[in-house]
Symmetry: C2
Amino acid sequence: MRISQLSERAGLPIGTVKFYLRTGLLPAGRALNATQAEYSESHVDRLLLIRALIEVGRLSVAEIQSVLATIDQPAALDEGMRSVQQVGVPKGKDVTAEQLAATLELVTGLGWTVEPDSPHMQSLARAIAALDSVGVPVSPARLKVYAEAASHVARSDIDWVLGFPQERQVELTLVNTALWEAMLGSLRRLASENQVARRRAGVPSPRVTIPTA
Amino acid sequence: MRISQLSERAGLPIGTVKFYLRTGLLPAGRALNATQAEYSESHVDRLLLIRALIEVGRLSVAEIQSVLATIDQPAALDEGMRSVQQVGVPKGKDVTAEQLAATLELVTGLGWTVEPDSPHMQSLARAIAALDSVGVPVSPARLKVYAEAASHVARSDIDWVLGFPQERQVELTLVNTALWEAMLGSLRRLASENQVARRRAGVPSPRVTIPTA
């Protein structure tokens, strides 16, 4: 197909498609002559992924460039999955070694096995420090509830990714990291509305048993 | 205290403090003369809150302006809590009435009572549409897991806020919305690391019973 049809199929203006071609987010089509190229279904799929990562995952073009490079290069599966899991991790001021050690103690106290030098440990330590600074320090009981919720979705994420052939697992880890994170954010705010409505009506919640770690 | 001490206490450069004064994020101090003002502990607290919302909550100055105005104006409690819960909700293209109706059906299928015109319904419908567009539509089973996790943290959020005096509840709903969201994001990524480590080692997860809605 030509660029005009590609643009229509992806629901993006031609100017945007050309921008993604120039920045290398979208691989070049098969050149037909000096000014025209032919595009395939794989170009449509790639554009739809880029569009979802920008509009819903809130990733920047630079972040998408780096993460698509990881998907396209055949690397070790574990390494690829770990790398795309870091997309969209907010950079911030470094936390102190003391804050990091205290955070690691909290996390291992949950029964979790994590990498102490994971960038997510830095983010977590920053969030804990921020709550301290506004006078409402994190209580172990509340951290436990959040950790249970996080484990519950992480198990589901990994089961889902492992249900696909290996060559798609890095791409689908990216979908989990960026798009299912948006799902969780929206659901969390809707769940608050539901909790308020339930309490007002005096309706108790049904219960379910989930894994804790 | 003078502006230099205020800046030191909040861990922010004097230029940043002056910017927050100019934009009205920080209320003016008590004027001592044409060029000097006296600031109080409440100025320190406000600066620490602004700093946490920017550095960890990733809110913009405009969003913080609007949300602090809600906190400072005595409004109905419910209205105030609903309003600060909308901070940081990503704006995006409108979803179709059909997409919104399908999303509402999914959410009520969870046993939840939500407001159909909530902005969070729009965000959820956009996330569902994005997953559809990349060829991995949301399954009801997986949505249920995410919804259980969201309910679990939402119950904890509301219990925590209601444990404080009413006049602080709008401010603490903001802390929940922005800062505990960052906690959940970091914990979710660490939980994935833990799940991978557990599976590799063949260690099963302990289980806990939680409310489902």
